[in-house]
Symmetry: C2
Subunit: 461 residues, 2 copies
Amino acid sequence: MHRTRFTRSAILAATLAGVIALPLSSSAQSSSRDIQAKAPADNTQAARQAIVGGRARNVILLLGDGMGDSEITIARNYQVGANGRLAMDSLPLTGEYTTYAVQKDDPTLPEYVTDSAASGTGWATGNKTYNGAISVKPNEKPVPTILELAKAAGYRTGDITTSELTDATPAVLASHVVDRGCQGPENMANCPQNAIENGGDGSIAEQMVDTMPDIMMGGGGARFDQAVQAGQYEGLTVRQQAQAKGYNIVDTADELDAANGQKPLLGLFAPVNMDLEWTGPVPTPTGTAPSTCQPNAAYPSTEPHLSEMTSKTLRLLDQQTRSSRKGFFLQVEGASIDKQDHAANPCGQIGETVEFDKSIQLALRYQRNHPDTLVVVTADHGHTSQIVEAGTTTTGVTATLTTHDGADMTISYATAVFPASQQHTGTEVRIAAKGPQAANVLGVTNQTDLFYTFKRALGLN
Amino acid sequence: MHRTRFTRSAILAATLAGVIALPLSSSAQSSSRDIQAKAPADNTQAARQAIVGGRARNVILLLGDGMGDSEITIARNYQVGANGRLAMDSLPLTGEYTTYAVQKDDPTLPEYVTDSAASGTGWATGNKTYNGAISVKPNEKPVPTILELAKAAGYRTGDITTSELTDATPAVLASHVVDRGCQGPENMANCPQNAIENGGDGSIAEQMVDTMPDIMMGGGGARFDQAVQAGQYEGLTVRQQAQAKGYNIVDTADELDAANGQKPLLGLFAPVNMDLEWTGPVPTPTGTAPSTCQPNAAYPSTEPHLSEMTSKTLRLLDQQTRSSRKGFFLQVEGASIDKQDHAANPCGQIGETVEFDKSIQLALRYQRNHPDTLVVVTADHGHTSQIVEAGTTTTGVTATLTTHDGADMTISYATAVFPASQQHTGTEVRIAAKGPQAANVLGVTNQTDLFYTFKRALGLN
């Protein structure tokens, strides 16, 4: 008998701590202990109804970093069972998209394994670029992003993550530098032409503050504590620059709870990445005894969870747009799915996927109440983790988890010698959508197509 | 500059040899050298039109054994380039399905990594069962298959593969044994209760002949040369049993070419598995220099290619049903995608996928001319191969291929120590469809759902 998943009690604890009263019900993820499938109903009519053209008032992109089909299956099996369904599984229209980057030296040649920067530039701008590029073309010239275009057209905008706010995925929406490492004004070694002292637009942190999305949240506080090196804000930290430009800055879950939407909101909840939801066994070359994941007891009470950031952001953006003709564009990233796949940490990876899925659940609930919202759930690239025969070893490291089904699932990490960082993979990845324009994710598309789908949905030129 | 793919010349050679005049055009797979994506057209209206309810006259299932999203991407990148499209990429409605099996000792528990027998029993009968089971439930009782139900209802039926005809995928449609190894009457050690001498229905080969699909083709001739051990056909080989029952047996491509549809047709083109389309580099722990795949010079001229078997089968089934109210059910398996993934043979795997894709192209062309045909393309489980960063090594073996794009693609096999057999994986896999009932593959489904989709399409009870 498998003990109750701990996620609801974790939410309850957060709620009791007065952080945020999350309206999550247990029904949105449907767990199943019955693994014999039943005859399904005919989906034809429901599919027809799911195809909605025309404009969307709002767009919500939920991006699971490194969340390929293998990572989704691992999280589903563990959390709700093989015949259960995650919230992300309920989106009605689905496809796979290609994620390749291009080579910097010769952009007519693909790089079959992308990083989050090139992939993000793809969906954020419609351009294929080189690994490491933040919304610049292979020739290093900046290209407008969907968030910038939406903001210029009068939409409210949000950009939230569990990684540093200046990491690749949130960065591609609101900044343009030639190397993803250039996250703060003291990190500009690889982007001299982007530094303000050289006439550039500054680091990722500085540019994001300049772009000024209505809501930005994540970790990466240390980048914002760096000193601006030149220009109007020289001598201030980026954090002070943000305040000078009008941002309300919050550093804790309590402050987030108290924040209203009267000023732009910048949440910086950790100096680097935000903490992990779950902990669990370390894989080894000879495998592990079956065990289960545990909540991360060291998760700071001052840090909101991704679903809490999502809930607050949706509430504020909804308030801010209630009386306006245009809605919002919001990006929500589950960033550490990727980071824990790199680290060969199965419970780390699964816990982040489950928390990300709770954010999807909130977005889908918003969509039910606001059907003129396009919700897209996808990943930026595939990753290492593979489900192999239970109890077997591979050439890499494996760990075995006892799932919601009460069965053993063995996960292998074998693209690098542990504990070296595991590799991304080049597989096509799932994209799923609901709402106006969702039919554009069907079949096999290119990750750059998503930019055009967003543009069409929001009526941007 | 990448040299011309050799597949068209291989087809031309086959055509000149008088085997079969294949009406393949070069346009069905769209290769692309332009890897910068263009703004796509709005798919909303096309998607609406692709959703067709009601009955299908014909069903064509094309099953790529072990052809997960990673294997599809590898074949696409190599054959048509990262921004090209295989024929299988053109199906308009797509989803992912779960493939898990159940444990024999306790069928309430899943086995997260399936084999082709359990997965095949899933889509062929709608029942989850244990690995190794051929259309029997976990309690070893037989359950009717979609091919048997279709035949009983008056549809013509076909079942073709590149493996032994008695291997798991073709077997699950027309036989019921407790262990997939029981392929011929002299292979019954693991299925005593199924042996005719013990009152059973016989080996897979015997049962397939008894079920009597209108067309069966593949390898596995040696199984049919085994002696029937008891009953009406005792002393005959299974081949002779098939002749006694009325089958026209063909052993070569020429004989296939000459065959007409007046009698049921049994094609046995190789003693074991049919030969491989391509050869190429052997992966090593330190990788390989970039190279390309080559046609298998040892491919016997007497063996038809899968696309030729598909072409002939479609022509015969079409002729046989032209004046009847009911059409046909056909299964086409690309079997050695899986076998060459097991063998860590990248060009073997890709060559089989490309040849399988040509069969898909033929099915789609048939569907265009007969829109009352449901075409489904899917896999039975994921597999080992992963695209990793070009030129890197992993914990397993890698090989680097120069693709249609003229770029290097490195493929890793790391779920077993080479040359031991690589493992299947438990990831959800792609399912794509076109025609009546195709909307039932959207979203996340279970592989057992496909049985019900077929039943609904053919109006079976």
